[in-house]
């Protein structure tokens, strides 16, 4: 099966690069095509629209055994809005397409839509279109989100410079630990359906897994603080993977510091419970949907002490490489071990 090996070797990002390789863009309105969190389309001299799309597949991206459909609807919207926020834009519209097998009763689809509506209400976005279809198996959700941004505020992955500070919103690793707990309890339940799942004390991390939020508030905070990040990305595949995306796109290196990575106490406790290093969960866990961005050193005073943002390192010369500095001061080469769903 040499072909399969090819797909696995490429991975998701490699596959997208490979497939989109021969495509060029011709419209002057296309400011940015493939290769960032969202495409950027010029709509006037000063404004642009950003467009992002994601497909979620049952059994690959979600497990209905422990994912309530309402939460799934909410999360499906949020992961797309997060991409819009990662361009420093404000989400305004979404479209939602669904394919589902006949095993889903109308009530199930209604639950899913309740979650979609809740997300639309919370984030003030309009559902403007979509498509519904049957499928032979399972549920597939495809959402496209559209946002708006002033052209001089757009943040790409490619704008980071040497000496810029690397900043992350919120805390990391919680969604990954939430998933570990849910998977463990699923196995316990499968072995003995009489045993009630033991989720006590795990509220925060389970919520982070099942009902993440997009950091639209950070985009607003940055606007209030008059800080335009030099580069930005959202953390869907794990901190390490996203940092490397910024470094590669911006042609810079970086130092990030173990002791600076924001990890909630509940995440650390769960990690220890599972014999995992909390920092590893933050680096490789994914699904945090926090924003990772770089700012000029001169903006440090504006964000210093802000409870929503943590400086975790700084950018270096490209030739200096990308390093994780552990608590002993040892520099370890940063590697992306995020989830490759073509691999396994």
């Amino acid at each position: 099966m040499s072909e399969q090996k090819d797909l696995n070797q490429l991975g998701e990002f490699g596959l997208i690069d490979h497939l989109s390789n021969e495509f060029t863009t011709i419209h002057p309105s296309t400011i940015k095509g493939i290769g960032d969190d969202a495409a950027v389309i010029s709509v006037s001299e000063t404004e642009a629209m950003v467009v992002s799309t994601d497909m979620l597949v049952e059994g690959i991206h979600f497990n209905l055994m422990y994912t309530p459909l309402m939460h799934l609807g909410y999360k499906s919207v949020v992961v797309n809005l997060s991409d819009i926020c990662a361009m420093n834009a404000k989400p305004e519209q979404i479209t939602v397409s669904l394919a589902f097998s006949s095993k889903f009763p109308l009530e199930a689809i209604e639950e899913l839509y309740k979650g979609i509506k809740a997300a639309c209400d919370v984030y003030k976005v309009d559902l403007v279109g979509g498509d519904t279809s049957t499928s032979y198996s399972g549920l597939t959700i495809s959402i496209t989100a559209i946002g708006r941004v002033q052209k001089d505020k757009i943040t790409y992955r490619s704008g980071a410079n040497e000496y810029d500070l690397l900043v992350v919103s919120g805390d990391l690793g919680a969604a990954y630990m939430g998933l570990q707990v849910l998977e463990r309890e699923k196995e316990v339940f499968k072995a003995n359906p009489d045993i009630q799942p033991d989720l006590e004390g795990f509220d925060y991390i389970i919520k982070r897994q099942l009902k993440p939020e997009a950091r639209k508030d950070i985009v607003e905070f940055l606007a209030e603080l008059e800080v335009v990040p030099t580069a930005m990305i959202d953390i869907s595949d794990g901190l390490a993977s996203e940092i490397l995306h910024i470094c590669k796109s911006s042609k810079v290196g970086c130092h990030i510091y173990d002791e600076k990575i924001p990890i909630d106490g509940a995440t650390s406790l769960a990690a220890i419970d599972f014999n995992l290093d909390p920092a590893t969960c933050a680096l490789n866990g994914g699904e945090d949907y926090e924003l990772l961005f770089t700012v000029k050193q001169s903006d440090y005073e504006k964000i210093k002490g802000n409870p929503h943002m943590t400086v975790i390192g700084h950018m270096t010369n490209e030739n200096d490489g990308c390093y994780f500095i552990d608590k002993n001061g040892s520099a370890i080469t940063l590697k992306a071990q995020g989830w490759n769903h073509f691999g396994q």
Copy 2:
């Protein structure tokens, strides 16, 4: 299974209405949400963007037994561009999301992308984003198309008035007859794989099924002729269904004439071969991706004799109802018998 019955009773359009019922739009930029061929988003005083999305599911929307992957890629793009054209807009960008099972080798996905690229080249649209994922079974393709239009040129389904002329581009029923031939030869092949499929003489109708085109040229012709249709829709579910959409949205009735419906000779021959009435194929067949539109009587001189457009009837008062006038002059109530894939 009362729930299933509910879904079947609702049908696709009923389901979308039902699910989107509780959603309201709040952004001033959202000019039109759900309910037309595409959503309309204001981008400046004079311009709007239109956004449409479609999901194609293996086994539901296409059969890989007789659909070459390159044609499938092409068609997936075209059906979305057709929706953009139906708003009298010009398509400029698309995003493409794919989910496919591990049975697909890289070469298969490359073939699919060759077709996507061919459509991008022919229609001059930019591929600006997307997503790829594995799935547990089959292939799912979700495409979002974005177009641009002057606000005073946007055509909704709702703008038709009494006495307007009803016009259709190209010819109808061919894609449906192409499907019948392909399905027949598939059954022959399944019964005896040594028999070569007999597709001779069916080139035109098979091409209409496997490689339809979006009538971007009609949008350009109309602009040159300085005709802005009062209402427009593309024919994806069959002429009858689309006429009724216009009548319902515009609150008008209509008379359409059997003898006026443009049907290619090859379509008629195939219909007779299958013991079908050609007009029925045009009315209920679907997948023609021609444009159906209404124009003011005063625009008749501009489109008269145009080989790409045929006047097939006129709009009447809402209270007069929607009628198909057969060759004997009998008026038959128009009914949508288009494809309901939640049914059966």
